[in-house]
């Protein structure tokens, strides 16, 4: 604290330059360097280090050695920082021409789950219809899905696959419902974050995207399904799912988020100066 406010004296006291720290370092390094060269080097280093340490102590005790550094003449000092003429633009939430679009309102997560269930129903209907049209049996696609975890079915022929199998039906239903709920929940969470074209992205792009993903990995996951799958029919049922979920989620009532509130306020911290700027401190 004492060093401040002394500019009226025209000089400032700064620690005086000193060679002792450098000599102490040199002494210590020579001292250790002797281990790999010659004992004489160690001896020299030790003597140097003791002398330098003593010099250093004399430099700082009882009071450290300071020197007066004259202040620069006013012309050579830093210029005052002047107010800028540039205008300050604050970024606003949802501002035109700016891509920042935080979801001020989102769909409730329950809408995603319900939508997922509805989508599951629609998709099952479409798949069953395709099964009936192509193979004369609504159980055909169900058995194929169950083949993911049922080795007996993956070796089965078309005839067995067309017959009703209660175990396969149960397993396929669980897989189908879980997957549908999961994807439905993702729809509910992610769709509001997408700036525009919800119908296109939810109904078509997303189903095509995960169909592509499945196409890539299906050979590993479910070889039976991979061998027998008809991709156009598969895509059709996926799109039916996407449209159903997207439709349901987008017509649910939105709820507000706390996105435009500061982190501290959201964390429940009560403090001054949160959110809005203070006019005068």
């Amino acid at each position: 604290m004492s060093a401040r406010r002394d500019d009226d004296r025209g000089s400032i006291r700064m620690p005086a330059p000193t060679a002792w720290p450098m000599l102490l370092a040199a002494g210590i390094c020579l001292g250790f360097g002797g281990l790999v060269t010659n004992a004489i080097v160690t001896a020299t280093g030790a003597v140097l280090a003791v002398i330098a340490a003593w010099g250093w102590i004399r430099e700082v005790l009882p009071v450290q050695h300071l020197e007066e550094v004259a202040l620069r003449p006013a012309a050579l000092r830093a210029k005052d920082v002047r107010p800028s003429t540039a205008r300050v633009d604050h970024l606003e939430v949802g501002q035109d021409g700016h891509r920042m679009r935080l979801p001020i309102e989102i769909h409730p997560w329950t809408a995603g789950l319900t939508g997922g269930l509805i989508g599951a129903g629609v998709m099952a209907l479409v798949a069953a219809a395709i099964g009936v049209a192509g193979y004369g049996s609504p159980w055909y696609p169900i058995n194929l899905l169950a083949a993911t975890v049922m080795p007996s079915l993956s070796q089965a022929g078309t005839k067995e696959l067309s017959a009703f199998d209660p175990t396969a039906f149960g397993i396929a239903s669980v897989i189908h419902l879980l997957a549908s709920l999961l994807v439905g929940a993702l729809y509910g969470l992610i769709l509001p974050l997408v700036p525009r074209r919800h119908a296109l992205i939810g109904g078509l792009v997303a189903p095509l995207f995960w169909t592509g993903l499945l196409w890539a990995v299906l050979g590993v996951l479910n070889p039976a399904l991979n061998g027998r799958i008809e991709w156009p029919a598969f895509v059709l049922s996926q799109v039916a799912f996407g449209v159903a979920v997207g439709w349901f989620v987008s017509r649910s009532e939105k709820i507000a988020t706390l996105q435009d509130v500061s982190l501290a306020a959201r964390a429940g911290i009560e403090a001054s100066g949160l959110g809005k700027g203070r006019d005068e401190a």
Partner: protein, 560 residues
Amino acid sequence: MAVLDRSLESSPAESSARVPVGSILHDWVVTADHKKLGLMYIASGLVFFLVAGVMASMMRIQLALPQNDFLGPNTFNRLMTMHGTTMVFFVGMPMFFGFANYVVPLQIGARDLAFPRLNAFGFWMFLFGGVLLYFSALGSEGLYGAGSTPDVGWFAYAPLTSRTFSRGNATDYWILGILLSSVGSTATAINLVTTVATMRCPGMTLGRMPLFVWILWVDAILVLFVLSPLTAAQVMLLFDRFLGAHFFDTQAGGSAVLWQHFFWFFGHPEVYVLILPAFAIASEVIPVFSRKPLFGYPIMVAATICIGMISMSVWVHHMFVVGLEPGANTFFAASTMAIAVPTGIKIFNWLGTMWGGRIRFRVPMLWCTAFLLEFVLAGLTGVILATVPIDWQLSDSYFVVAHFHFVLIGGLLFNIFAAIYYWFPKATGRMLDEGLGRKHFFWFVLGFNLTFLPMHVPGLLGMPRRIYTYMPGRGWDAWNLVVTIGVAVQAIGILYFLWNVISSLRDGEPAGDDPWDGWTLEWATTSPPPEYNFEEIPTVRSRRPLWDLKHPEDPDWRWE
């Protein structure tokens, strides 16, 4: 504009006539001024960087072709050891301490560090340690009679370092050089911790410190925790070699694995000690050139502290191939992946800072932008290597070499260049040339990617690190040739950089006090600053004190 005459930089009394060289040299040797010491740290770091860079180039020439005989195996081992040791201890560390020394007191509105003489001591210990290490080339008796630099690799695994396997004094030079410079580094870290804790100007609460200062503070604290274990391990090794102790002597029941634990307990946090200054620099440069305040300041502080703490519990990921028990492997794989979270937060916050800003792509900003891209790649290969089975496959291969060069060059060195371009005007009063800077940037980034992107591939194909040559026909030949060509391209960039520094020092464009329209306190004083930094100790009311002065209609303290 008045402070252009560089002879005025230390005091007005010297303004007349030319000062003799001897006197200038004397001034620098006896100085306790944080700015001069900072510049000496940076300059000596650059010199070591060039030396170690030349070593790397020689190794790449040797590896460009299969069964090349440019270097022999012994020379290769020495170069490899000296390159690694130099880059970590005598380039990375002095760069950290150099910028911390120069910038921290200016940014917190202090006249010097807390203990100016200790600062000088720390610098000279570092420098003499480096000199001792390099003296081994002349003074050490190796196996073949001639001088021999250390050749045990930069992490010097036991029992290769025992007297039995490492004759002569080369390994002793390695131990002593690092030991001495580590003592200096610890001293400087103590100094920095104390400075930031006690020397901040009025109004600068912890919440108003520039993030640069925050990160370097955490970094200095980290150094306190991890550098003395290395010192202790080096002392043990010294006892083994000179007194016949058995710490790492496997014949007497000593454990080679214990050395690995001790070394990597230092060695991995060291990576964060080196990379945190890079984060600090990016956190300073990106906001100024995006014309926006830093996004998520408190989260950045929290992420920095998280990184500091987690970094001390990840070291075993260097030792997966040792064959420790699965529980340990699982824990350290998980903690290694966990550290990606705070690091990812930082990346997103820098992107958030740039997003919607009026970005000015001057040279410092170019480096920081390139850093963001390269560092994400480096981090991704890091997470890959943290997976134990993949590490078993890739450990000690060129994939690892490519990974950590991506971290240390794409992460650290890019930001060091950014910092040099950013603060050069403050330190010298002259701008670095923008055109030459862009050429430097272009050639170096091109060469860097040409070198280290392809380097991942021979690693995946099974090429081990630290081999001095290889047989043709293993699918490594073309990749190695490309890597070596990349080194030549990087060298072009470095030549542009050196020419830029030299020519700009002589007749660069005058900088003025505040060339970047910056916001932190160093831009409130002259370029170069007077010995006492500020005529009057400033008072701050927000994280961006100069913004408050430049925009009185909309100061930051209304919002913080």
